[in-house]
Point group: C2
Chain length 730, copies 2
């Protein structure tokens, strides 16, 4: 509540009870009296409640065992580093209750599961489970086995149950009331979404996909450009200590009603708002500048755990994130709560435009870029998330992957969150369904429109490129670190009848699109570039093609800049005029070398160069854009020791400075879920061609194929990485 | 931006220019240089810009006249109390420009309209209007008349234009550049939505409706219960001094991008968030308690103007509102910006439930209400707004009235705003379209479910009432102060095939509904009550009906409470057991008198009594609910003098205390848009049967049928009203 004048007391005439919105901390320390007399008896016999029942009620509970060793493997929750039981809804789990004596026919008892303050049976936050003929609540119970005074009970939470941390009680019917176990945190139980349960909205049929999208705690995020894709390893770490509580803490901070927390649509929409700090003091503060002195540079994070742990410990937003950090942390949140989720990269992503389908670049009358009047930009890439689920709020054809985006941006809805938008709705242009489909549609489908601004300030289009935006959409492959191209799940092939139908629908649903009638250019330009290591010279080839029947002479201009990954100018370093003569029906190439001396002084923390070649041939204007992401040097990582759970090992991270200048203030960091917590190290200076070697010891907690990632950052160089994979045995 | 760490500078790498979000204050004091050299000339001739052009450029602008007397009547904006021109988009307005000499063939000029900081032609915030063959921007221009050196120009803004306050410039093409008029606030122009323009998304075909929904600056809001509807006069006052600026100020406070402000869907959704203070420091703080000592009681407001003026002057949320205040202020905001809007009252409104279609009332095993375990409540009434418009984001069948609700409530979407939800989507159960249709659907269609809670805490339904919620939906009639029943626009008749189809669809789209198989009760109860003046005894009749073939004896209980209008208990004052014997196939009535002495000490600021009769007849439980809103005494208002614009008149507000107790701390207040600004008066005490007479002078500003409303509030009595209508001539 932002306004102090409006506390909960201002709502006294509004709610019978305050709407419960916290799970981890509850207001009343006691859920129930340990002995609760039956109210109907009280009513019959007068106001005074009976004293504790005597004689006949000699039955009591000696022990409650949450059967972690049996439940966890069956529920795929063994990896969670927590003392409490973690189970998935819609699947039976066992609880073993030991009574003071074997039960007789007359004995009656029930289990009670409570979540949040003021739990209520009618709101699904107080569940009574019975094990006989007596009618109980919505979760079914059965006696699996009776051994003397010990009963093994099977409890199946509904597949729609609230997700979060429940408190467990056993109540015995004792004469005129219920005699309960006292509050015992060791019987607390986390209930998660269940991708293995066909009745759950987040059911995934394929076991390989479930293991990837729910259980994989590391992954890769694709970056760079579609011609030169780079991989960033990201450690999701959803099973690490404190992460599950941190995810519930985020929901508590959002004041999301407890009763809504079984609803995947509501929960992921809330999550997309809370992962960024805008509006709601959420997890991560966005920063797209080049000044990160007040926090950690977005490029320095190697995973989500440090961010989530720090947020949960302080309640203060963490500085700083950019799109892959938001997507990485959101992915941890989703997988941790049991939602099947993945990180997506859209190459050449249209952003922050006004909800139309145009990215407009403005050019001066002489054909050179008019930066002062250009408002739109194209991100080299943008990352978001997808969650796989049924959409109970929509027609059934929208079951499947849903786009959610936690990067703070002015969506059409004006709030800093986005989605869930069904990928199927985007593909078919069915933008009339919630949430934010039009915004995502524009990100992958906008036209690039080049406009010339005349001397009076009016604009005229001269080139439209329908292929530039949303060039490719990638995600990590299932079971390996390669990429999977999922562009076809978002779009039909350009020019097909299905694509035309999609575009027509999108316009019908308010996505403005201009239909310029431009004469087809006879001349065109394409720029190509070799892969280029940071610090080396870059070779560009500008290729002119002439489809006309007469030779043409082109007055051309090359502009070279360093840009942020958002396409926004960081520093301009090159302007060069040149001419080219292109014979009729032929091509002509001009080779241009960009020397390291030209661009290196301008790079700072950036890794992308941006080139625009514009040309004038009589009355025709032409242009072409090329983004080059530099290839960064890598850290070398090697491990020694027996890769086995609980056996100490050693890792060595080494690096040689390939540049002819000193590197200063070198920050190193390393992590590996299930292997080691976050480590860091500093070097103050590294001479040209000099090396360092950083050694750390660690002891694996989890088995299987695991990965360590290390990163390096210094004043003149960022985004230097290394990884090493380790097959850990049990 | 809630987080100080994330200022605009953190976005330097993200936007080419900051996204402009303020209209009333702009960052750069100068839009343009007064002389702007042509860039192409500069480029050709080198870096040095030319000096001011000499000789040939002797043409200059002597005067710009915004032709208010001609434009305002044509645009229906005469009533706005502002110095600037106010026009509606999509309709031509005139500007008269006087040059230094008559124009020749060679002369060229253009008009430029700018809104917000960093205006941009590609974003629609900088519009160039040309008047000859030269290609201009999206608004068309024509020369209407030439008289010597004076040109009368006709300018037609696009029907999709941005709404807000524009700055006007005239630029003359002078040799090598543009010579502009300097900034002149007297040529500022407000552009509004246009319900008279068929191309505008908010077009209304009927003139009577346009006058009611856009131009009527007062109205009535229905309250009470459907059996006893009361009218509250509300002064919208959208034309009063400062209100138009206040509405734009609200959008500025919301940081809504300027370029989105022509988009009715986005604008009204933003408005619904901003009228309440939650999340965003919007206009009004909600308070449903009985303590309003930190501000003004919601019942004290007579209209919107004081609230909006104070908010715009201070930027601090105003204390306090309840639903009709939120709806009244929102209606002013909407009509002021030109949107056709009305206030709606839904009687017996389901609220704050978890998105299912059930309002659950819990009863104890003995049949009496179990308040401790009941979470849901039914509002006696709830007010929201409707806006008439095309939904460009949806299929065309959703054109028409759209529900928007500014009362802060936890919607399914988790934010404090609601809508626009097409009324047509609610009627047909098409809840799969934005925004918040499911929430509104539940408000008008929920089932009332009575559940018995057994001694073990499990719940079983025993009565379902499908008619209790959304009993009727009213709005003010067009052209008079009567009510119009629009229930049929929200729902098909219960039990029709269309209604069944709607309910089936709603379930398909995630609205959970239980299908209890309950045996039809042979016994039922209905409570009826006479109209009752506050302070007099109330007569209730409890009627039992027996459809069975044997006589039945009922053990009954009457519980009487004072409730807030939200149905929440304020004070419980009566419990009475009684028995009734109902012959086979007959009815039996029990008359019960509730004396003034019983309820008066418990009323405080409330006006509603709530009765529940529960009955037990062998194994059958039955119950019935009755809400009685007390009839309040009224203020008497009379006027003297000639009702004519600019002629002083006198109004007399008088009241006689009808009670046998003193009234203390009497606050009186009065207003009438176009007649007088807010007035107030106090009396410290009024003896039983004593009277006062408050006289105020006023001078009408606007003609037509106008209304004065006065209200009174004191420690023991609220919601005392008086109105007087005045036909003012010109």
């Amino acid at each position: 509540m932002s306004n102090p004048a409006s506390g909960p007391s201002a709502y006294r005439g509004r709610y019978n009870k305050p709407v419960p919105t916290t799970n981890l901390t509850i207001e009343d320390d006691e859920d129930f009296p340990e002995f609760e007399p039956f109210e109907d008896d009280v009513a019959t016999e007068g106001a005074a409640p009976r004293a504790h029942p005597a004689a006949g009620a000699s039955l009591s509970v000696q022990n409650v065992d949450m059967c972690q060793q049996i439940n966890k493997p069956k529920h795929f929750t063994t990896d969670y580093d927590t003392e409490s039981l973690v189970v998935r809804r819609g699947l039976e789990f066992l609880v073993r209750v030991t009574f003071s004596r074997p039960l007789s026919e007359q004995d009656d008892f029930q289990l009670e599961f409570l979540i949040g303050s003021n739990p209520s049976a009618s709101k699904g936050s107080l569940i009574v489970v019975t094990f006989g003929s007596r009618h109980g609540g919505p979760w079914s119970g059965r006696i699996v086995e009776t051994q003397g005074e010990t009963l093994t009970l099977g409890i199946t939470p509904r597949a729609e149950a609230i997700v979060g941390k429940f408190r467990t009680y056993v109540a015995i019917v004792a004469g005129s009331g219920l005699q309960r176990t006292s509050r015992d945190t060791s019987t607390d139980m986390y209930l998660l979404f269940n991708a293995w349960c066909p009745e759950d909205t987040v059911y995934v049929a394929n076991e390989g996909e479930r293991r990837e999208y729910v259980l994989n705690d590391s992954g890769v995020i694709f970056q760079g450009t579609v011609e030169s894709v780079s991989q960033r390893t990201w450690m999701y770490g959803q099973f690490e200590r404190g992460i599950l509580d941190a995810c519930i803490y985020i929901l508590d901070m959002s004041r999301m009603p407890i009763t809504d927390r079984g609803h995947a649509v509501k929960l992921i929409r809330k999550g997309s708002a809370m992962i960024n700090s805008q509006d709601d003091n959420g997890v991560l503060v966005g920063n797209w500048s080049d000044d990160f002195s007040m926090g950690t540079s977005p490029t320095l994070w190697t995973g989500s755990t440090k961010i989530l742990q720090k947020y949960a410990n302080t309640g203060v937003p963490i500085c700083y994130g950019q799109c892959w950090v938001f997507a990485g942390v959101f992915n941890t949140f989703l997988r941790c709560l049991g939602l099947p989720a993945r990180v997506i990269t859209n190459f050449s992503s249209a952003h922050d435009n006004t909800g139309n389908l145009k990215i407009e670049l403005i050019f001066k009358p002489d054909g050179t870029p008019d930066r002062r009047h250009t408002r739109d930009s194209i991100w080299n890439y943008h990352c978001w998330n997808e969650v796989f689920m049924v959409r109970p709020d929509l027609p059934s054809n929208f079951t499947g992957w849903q786009v959610v985006d936690a990067t703070p941006q002015e969506t059409s809805d004006g709030h800093f969150r986005c989605g869930p938008a069904p990928v199927a709705a985007i593909k078919d242009g069915l933008l009339c369904h919630p949430f934010d489909c039009g915004f995502v549609f524009a990100e992958v489908n906008s036209d690039l429109v080049c406009l010339k601004r005349d001397r009076f300030g009016t604009l005229s289009p001269f080139r439209v490129d329908k292929n530039h935006i949303g060039q490719a959409i990638y995600t990590k492959a299932v079971g390996n670190n390669g990429h999977m191209d999922i562009t076809h799940t978002y779009k039909y092939a350009q020019g097909t009848p299905q694509d035309d139908r999609t575009m027509a629908r999108a316009e019908e649903y308010g996505c403005a699109r201009d239909h310029y009638e431009l004469v087809e250019d006879q001349l065109s330009i394409v720029i190509t570039a070799d892969q280029c290591f940071m610090g080396q010279d870059l070779n560009l080839v500008v290729q002119f093609q002439n489809k006309g029947e007469v030779a043409r002479s082109v007055q051309a201009h090359l502009a070279g800049s360093v840009v942020f990954y958002t396409g926004v100018l960081a520093s301009h370093f090159k302007d060069e005029d040149f001419t080219a003569t292109v014979p009729a029906l032929q091509m002509a190439s001009v080779k241009m070398k960009i020397s390291a001396q030209e661009y290196m002084p301008h790079m700072a923390a950036q890794v992308c160069l941006y080139f625009v070649v514009t040309g004038q041939a009589e009355d025709q204007s032409l242009n072409s854009i090329k983004v080059v992401e530099m290839v960064m040097p890598r850290l070398t990582m090697t491990v020694q020791g027996q890769p086995q759970v609980k056996q100490q090992m050693m890792v060595n991270v080494s690096f040689t400075n390939p540049f002819n200048f000193q590197l200063h203030n070198i920050n190193l960091f390393m992590e590996g879920p299930g292997l080691m917590e976050n480590r860091s190290h500093q070097y103050s200076v590294l001479e040209p061609q000099a090396s360092f070697s950083w050694v750390e010891m660690f002891t694996p907690r989890l088995h299987g194929l695991r990965r360590l990632v290390a990163g390096m950052d210094c004043s003149k160089l960022t985004q230097v990485w290394g990884v090493v994979d380790i097959q850990v045995s049990t």
